[in-house]
Point group: C2
Chain length 487, copies 2
C-alpha cells in the first residue's frame, strides 16, 4: 500500500462533509478486530481466544448461515440460462426454480441478465414486487411506485440526496439509530434532528418527544423535511404498535414531513405478541391517499431470514411523490448506478414472491425459513437473558431485527480511565471486550444514546452452538472489568 | 402511478443540485422511444418501422449479444455452490469453470457470496485483479490500491464526492464527454472546467488547450483538482497515443491534479495501428511513483466485449493517495453501498483473469471474444463509412469504445425550425430521426460540442445483420430531412 502520496490529494483538500461523516459499523473497532484476526492466523495460540466473533454487523451468511436454496437455484439459472433446458438441470434444480427462472427471464429484455435495465428496475420484476406488497398489506400497490435499488443503503443515500438542500434542512431520526442515516445526512450536509426513544418503556416512541424536537429544530431555523422511523428497530430491536404508527403518521401529515420508513427487518419478528405492519398499510387503513402524505418504505434482501447481504438487492416504495419529483429520482438512480444490479433485482422479486403451497420447493423453503427464524428467536432470547443476568447490564427485549442494545452501567472509574485513554467509555469497554474475548460489538456512541448512558450493539447472528461460549466469555470479561474499575 | 402528491415534496423543496444535473443517455429522447415501443406493441403496423433500434447506450446483451459462457458458468456456480460436487454439474459446466468457482469461493469468508465483504471488496479477489493489472502493464500493482465498485458509475460518483468541496472546486473534463462526469460533478456542486477535443485531428487532445482552460479557470478563482481523461474515448471513439498520455501526465503532475482515467473501454480497440496503454503503465514508465502523482483508473465489466452491464461489476485502482485519504474513501464506500455486490466482484476478477491457454474453456472463450470484437470492428467501420458517404455528415474513425459521434452539418432552416420548436437543433434532428425510423441516438448537446456544431452519438452495438437496414433508413431519413430544410 502506498504510504507516501502526491500532494494532489490531502485531508485538507477533500470534501469536509466526507471528513465529518462517521460510520461506526465499519469503524475503528472493526479494523482492530481484523488486525487481531490476521495476527491469530499468523500466530495461532497467541491470544486467550481462538477466533474473532463478529457481532458488529448483520451479516448472517458470513457467520455460517446457509443461503435459502430456492433463491440460489433461481439466481444461478438466471445467470446461466443456457442450461435451463438440459436434462441434467432437472436432476440438480427443483422444477419450480427452473420455472421461476424462466418466468423472470421472460420479463427481462432479450432475456439478458447482463443488460442494463431501466434505472428504476425491470418493469416485470417491479410488478411482482407490487403484487407481493399488495398481498402483504391488503391494499393495492402500483409497480410505478417501486424503485429497485442496490440494497437499502443506496436507496437511503439517494433519498437524502434528493431531499437535502443545505444545513438548514433537517431530517428527524430516532436515537439510537442505524448510523447509515447519520452518515448519509452528514454526507449531504443536512441537519440531523434527533428524537430519543425511551429505553425504560422498551425503546418507546413518544409523539410528545417528536413534537418537542420538531419545535426545537424549527426555532433554530431548521426546515424539517422528513422523519426516519426504523421498524423493527435497529439497533434497538423493538417492534412498533399499530396505534403508535398511527400517531407518527398523523404527526408527519400535520407537519408535511416525508416518512422514511426503514422496514428492512419486516421478516424478523421473534415474539408472538407483536406483528409487523408496514407504514403504507397503516397509512391506507387511515384512509390517506397520495395527496395526504409522502412515504418511502425501504426493503432489502440483506436483512430478512435469507440474509443475502452481499447480493445488494432491495427496493423502495415511494408514494405521494409527484411525477416530476419522481423523474428526478429516476435521474439520480441513473447517475449513481446506471441501473440496479440485475441479480439484486431478481432477489428482491423472490423475497416478495417466495414459493407457495403446491410448489415443489415450498416444503423445503418453509423448513429453511422456520429453522432460521426460530433459531434466531432462541439466540435473541438467550443473549437477552444473559445480558439481564449480569450485574450492571440491562437489556430490553429483542422483539425483532437482528440486534440487542444492552445498557452497560459503567462505574465512574471506568469512565475516567476511558477519558485518560482519550476514548469514550463505551468504546473503551468494547475494545477491552474485544482484546479479552475476541467478541466484536459496536459502542453505543456510534448509534447515539442519552448522554451519560452507555450501550453496545450486539448482533444475535453467531451460530447457535457458539452462543453459550459467547455468553460465558462476555460474563467473565464483564465481571473482571467491573472489578478492575469498581468505584 | 400517483399523479397527485402530498405537499411534503415539491420541485421547489428538493435539492437544487439534483434539479440542475442532466443525464442525456437516459433522458427525454429515450423516454420518447420507450413510449413509441409500447405503442408499437399495442398497435403493430402503426409506424413506418417495426421496431425501436436502441443506439443510445452501450448495452450489448439487451441488443442480442450473448454473454461469455465461461463468465456465466462461474457466476452460476458461485451463486449455488452446493451443486459444485455433483456429477451432473460436470456434464453441464466446463472443468475450469468449476475449478475457478471453487477458487473464488475459497477467498470469500465462509464461502458465502451472500455475505457482506469488506467495503473495499474481497481481498482475495482484489489480489487476482492486481495480478491481472501487473501482467497487463508490466509494472506491479498492489491489491490495497484496488477498490471494487458497482461498475464505474458508482466509482466516479464516489471520487467526485471525495474531491469536490464547493462550486469553487473544478474538475477538467474533455468536451465532448460521457455525461456521467458532468452529472456527477453537478450533483456534488462542483465546477466543470471544459477542455475541447479537436474534431479536425480525430478528436485530438492538445496540452495547449489544457493549459488555456486551466489558466482561464484559475483566473476565475477556481481551484482545479482533477482532470478526467476517457481512453478509448466516449462518445468520440479515439485511442490516445502514448506520447499524448505522457504530456497529459506531465501537465497533471505540474499542476498537482488527480488524473481520473476512464479506461472502461480498454478491451475494445478496432484498428491495428493503435493499442491501449493504461495511464498507470505510462506513469510508471516515466519513472513516477506515488509521491509524484495521484491517479485513479476506472474499469468495469460493463464495457468490454463481455458487456456485463446489468451485473454492475467494476474496480478503481487508486495510486498516490495517503492512507488517511484512502480510509475516507473506504468509509464512503461503506455508507453508499455497504459493500460492492458480490457477483460484480466476481466478474471484475474474471475479466482481469480470463481463461488461459491450456484451460478447458480457453478455445471457446477465445472464439467468443474474437467473434464479438471482430464483429464490433466491422460494425464500427460500416457505420463510419456510411456516415461519411452521406452529404452533410462527417465522422471520425472509431478506433475504440462503442460509439461514433458523427457531425451533422445542419442547414440554417433546420436550426431555425428547431428554435421555433423550442429545441436544440441536434435534439430536433434526433427526434425526427426516431419518429421516422425508430433509431434512437443521443443529441450531441448531451455530451457537449463546440458551439455551432451539431452531432449525435450512435452506438455500434445493434447486431450485425441489422446494420445495413439501419444505414439505409438513416440515409433515407437524412436526405429527406435535408431536402425539407434546405437553405
Amino acid at each position: 500500500m502506498s504510504t507516501i502520496s502526491s500532494s494532489a490529494v490531502t485531508l485538507a483538500s477533500i470534501n469536509p462533509k466526507v471528513l465529518k461523516c462517521e460510520y461506526a459499523v465499519c469503524g475503528e473497532i472493526v479494523s482492530h478486530a481484523q488486525l487481531l484476526q490476521e495476527d491469530l492466523k499468523a500466530k495461532p495460540g497467541s491470544y486467550s481466544f481462538d477466533e474473532i466473533v463478529y457481532c458488529n454487523i448483520g451479516n448472517p451468511q458470513s457467520l455460517g448461515q446457509p443461503p435459502v436454496t430456492f433463491f440460489r437455484e433461481v439466481l444461478a439459472l438466471c445467470d446461466h440460462p443456457s442450461i435451463l433446458d438440459r436434462d441434467e438441470t432437472h436432476a440438480l434444480f427443483s422444477a419450480d426454480a427452473i420455472a421461476r427462472a424462466s418466468e423472470i427471464l421472460d420479463v427481462i429484455p432479450a432475456r439478458a441478465a447482463g443488460g442494463y435495465s431501466s434505472s428504476q428496475g425491470t418493469k416485470g420484476l417491479r410488478e411482482v414486487i407490487a403484487a407481493g406488497i399488495s398481498s402483504r398489506d391488503g391494499y393495492p400497490c402500483d409497480a410505478d411506485d417501486i424503485f429497485l435499488t442496490d440494497g437499502a443503503s443506496s436507496a437511503v443515500c439517494m433519498m437524502m440526496q434528493l431531499l437535502i438542500r443545505s444545513e438548514k434542512d433537517g431530517i428527524m431520526c430516532p436515537i439510537p439509530l442505524c448510523p447509515l442515516y447519520s452518515a448519509s445526512i452528514a454526507l449531504q450536509g443536512g441537519f440531523l434532528v434527533p428524537y430519543y426513544l425511551d429505553e425504560t418503556t422498551g425503546w418507546g416512541l413518544e409523539t410528545s418527544e417528536l413534537r418537542t424536537q420538531f419545535e426545537d429544530a424549527h426555532s433554530k431555523g431548521i426546515t424539517v423535511k422528513a422523519l426516519v422511523v426504523i421498524n423493527p428497530g435497529n439497533p434497538t430491536g423493538q417492534v412498533l404498535e399499530e396505534e403508535n404508527q398511527r400517531q407518527i403518521i398523523e404527526f408527519c401529515k400535520k407537519e408535511s414531513l416525508v416518512i422514511l420508513a426503514d422496514e428492512v427487518y419486516q421478516d424478523n419478528i421473534y415474539i408472538e405478541e407483536k406483528k409487523f405492519n408496514s407504514f403504507k398499510k397503516i397509512v391506507r387503513s387511515m384512509g390517506f391517499c397520495d395527496k395526504d402524505i409522502s412515504l418511502v418504505s425501504f426493503h432489502s434482501a440483506s436483512k430478512g431470514f435469507y440474509g443475502e447481504c452481499g447480493q445488494r438487492g432491495g427496493y423502495m416504495e415511494a408514494i405521494g411523490f409527484s411525477y416530476a419529483v419522481r423523474e428526478h429520482n429516476y435521474k439520480l438512480a441513473c447517475v449513481n448506478h446506471c441501473c440496479p444490479i440485475m441479480s439484486g433485482q431478481i432477489l428482491a422479486s423472490l423475497i416478495m414472491n417466495p414459493p407457495k403451497p403446491g410448489d415443489e420447493s415450498y416444503e423445503s423453503f418453509s423448513i429453511e425459513r422456520d429453522g432460521i427464524l426460530s433459531s434466531l428467536a432462541r439466540r435473541a432470547k438467550a443473549l437477552e437473558d444473559a445480558f439481564n443476568s449480569i450485574e450492571g447490564v440491562t437489556c430490553n427485549k429483542a422483539e425483532g431485527a437482528m440486534y440487542l442494545f444492552p445498557r452497560i452501567h459503567l462505574p465512574k472509574k471506568a469512565i475516567e480511565a476511558a477519558k485518560a485513554a482519550n476514548s469514550l467509555a463505551d468504546a473503551f469497554y468494547a475494545h477491552r471486550l474485544l482484546d479479552a474475548t475476541g467478541i466484536v460489538v459496536i459502542p453505543g456512541s456510534g448509534f447515539g444514546q442519552v448522554p451519560g448512558t452507555w450501550h453496545v450493539r450486539c448482533s444475535i447472528l453467531p451460530q447457535e452452538d457458539k452462543i453459550p461460549g459467547i455468553i460465558s466469555r462476555f460474563k467473565a470479561f464483564h465481571e473482571s472489568f467491573m472489578q478492575e474499575f469498581q468505584d
